[in-house]
Amino acid sequence: MTPVDRRAFLTRSAAAISIGGVGAAVGATLAPDAPASTPKSGAAADGLTPDLAERVPFDGVHQAGVLTPRQDQSTFVGLDSIAPSQDVLFGALEALSATARTLTQGDRVAVTRIDDPPPDSGLLGPVNQPDSLTVTIAFGPSLFDDRYGLAGKRPHHLTTMPAFAHDELDPYRTGGDVLVQICAGQRDTVVHTYRELMRAVAGSLVIRWTIDGFQSAQRGPSPKSSRRNLFAFRDGTGNPDVTDAGLMNQLIWVQPGAGEPEWAVGGTYLVARTIRMHVEFWDRVGMLEQEQMIGRDRVIGAPLGGTNEFQDPAYGLDPKGKRIPLDAHIRLANPRTAATNDQRILRRGYNYHRGIDSAGDLDQGLMFIAFNQNPERQYATIQNRLGPEPMTDYITPVGGGYFFAPPGSRGATDWVGSGLA
């Protein structure tokens, strides 16, 4: 992230108004080398919400929102295209990127004539501060059917997500031609972005399903401690190191020469799984049984028998599963062998809670999001291995889908997915 000093940002915004006149966007005035001086801890001295000026570039070799440290709030939207032609579809995708670029970089809300509907809903006030906003755009396999002449461009591994063992996929919560992942520090930033993006594509892309996610607060003990999911266990401990560019090229980004269409190079596959967690059931399970299902200590997150979260579980020393049962979640998900190393995925999921179901039970769960280079080699292999895990009694996957997040947009005139044109 490139932090921008809030005061500098506002000063520049004011300058831009006087120079550019009413309605001028100020995104361009945010210098990419703006000083990294925003304090990271505690409330801002002026009593305002801190970190709103944090900015993540929209354009780049890869899309943002993949390796970007997980922001606190998110919304996921599965969209279907009703565009009558390829041209109209591309126009909508271009508008999606243009709006996302403007909002992620921050802009001043334009003022228009008093009797015209304002071009921005104004939810965030006169200035749309970036608030670490990322908008990640991905395409579902259905976009490559016979409607838009894109069949020949379909990324090689982009298939309809299979129903895995124990899945109860609801067609109204599954799939979509386009997936948009919106992440930011504050809920209102996400809601505003969602609203503006949908306005930009009205008439071409319609909402098929949507879900809001949140990340648990960082409650330590260290800043690196993984956050908890709604089963109260730390989630994401075993993620590959996103700062290791070589590793990301092995596991996440589509590489040239891998048999994929050229336009897909630099992109990644996004696996979305809406996983209902039956939390009342879970809360009736004994602590020991909970820990044995997961394979970790619930409080500190250490592999069972261990003392620290990031300790290697050393399965080799426990071949019979006396310490960590052979069907424990962490053991099946990542056996940590040479043969399974290239199956690793980058998880970037969010907790969700969305009211109650019709039996009055809490509708809570995990919007599981994983990025990987090849879902057959990686995600599906892992998921099939998890088939027999005892934890399946307490969860029900109900939605999601396979999507492909193309490489990043290359600049202000480009858009995510332009390789399709």
Partner: protein
Amino acid sequence: MLALAALAAVVLNGRSTSGATHRVNVVPAAAHSHAGNPYPLHITTVVGSSIPAKQYGNELSKQQGSATEDSATPGATPGAPITPVSPSAFAGPTAAYRAWAEHWAATLAGEVPRLRSALATGTRAPAEREWQLAYSDYLHLGAVYGLLPGTLDEQIDGMPHALPGPGAPAPSFSGLHRIEMGLWTGARPASLVPWAARLEHDVGTLQRVLPTVQIDPLDYATRAHEILEDAQRDLLSGTDVPWSGAGVLGTAAGVAATDEVISTLTPLLEARDSTLLDVNNWLDRLQHVLDQLRAAHGGSWPSLGQLDLTQREELDGTVAGALGPLSQVPGSLETTPAPVIPKLSQAK
């Protein structure tokens, strides 16, 4: 919420200090459905513990605090260890439950031909009533349907999971729900006769295999709450009865099966702790709610859609309350001491 459930159970305990072996009368649920605070002040302890009710939060946080300190030795649980029950002690209860299951399988076997005839005559309403009877019969098997060999349970009671979208179900979709789908979506009843014939065959298989089904002691104790958990998740939500909405009928069958499990386990539970009293109080209260619902709908089970908000809340809330003490049953009847988890070598 669990705390509330526990406290509510205390209320019921408070109304009866008689022995733990027989059911006590409960105040009709409606009497305390809309009171601001239905729980009187004479509550003394939290169910299943000696913790004074007014100290519940403090005691809980102390326990959680000690769990944190103990975290280097996962598996250590606060509280006094209880002596494991001998697995052989379950022989009587599981044999009794097997006999119950065989009885209901026989009842079902008698019912399916009546369903088949009703379908053949082509009149929908009687066929729907026969279907409800057959469905209820099967759900009375409760504690064994997870133990049936192969895909037999799926053939009789399976749902067409993971449909790619609205449209034709997978060809393997058969059984009670296949007939339900047809009956409540306008299919000609006579067109469903072949599914009833197939069901008759599968129920015959059920009767043959039941005597050989192995019921593991721990599994059996777990059924004390799992039957009702399944009812809550799959029936009261409507997930498994999307066409008929027969969630109340199904839940009532699940309660009957749960009653039978508890009744067979009573000799074991009596010797343990206060679980049995709590369980029986809640099961009585739940049965009372179900009886009232049935009476309010002219003596037949209402569909989920026919419940008004108050009825829905009464039923959902009582099921949720009953699940608290029911989930204590397996813990009360542990057959092995908690395993000691080896330490992970620090060298690694």
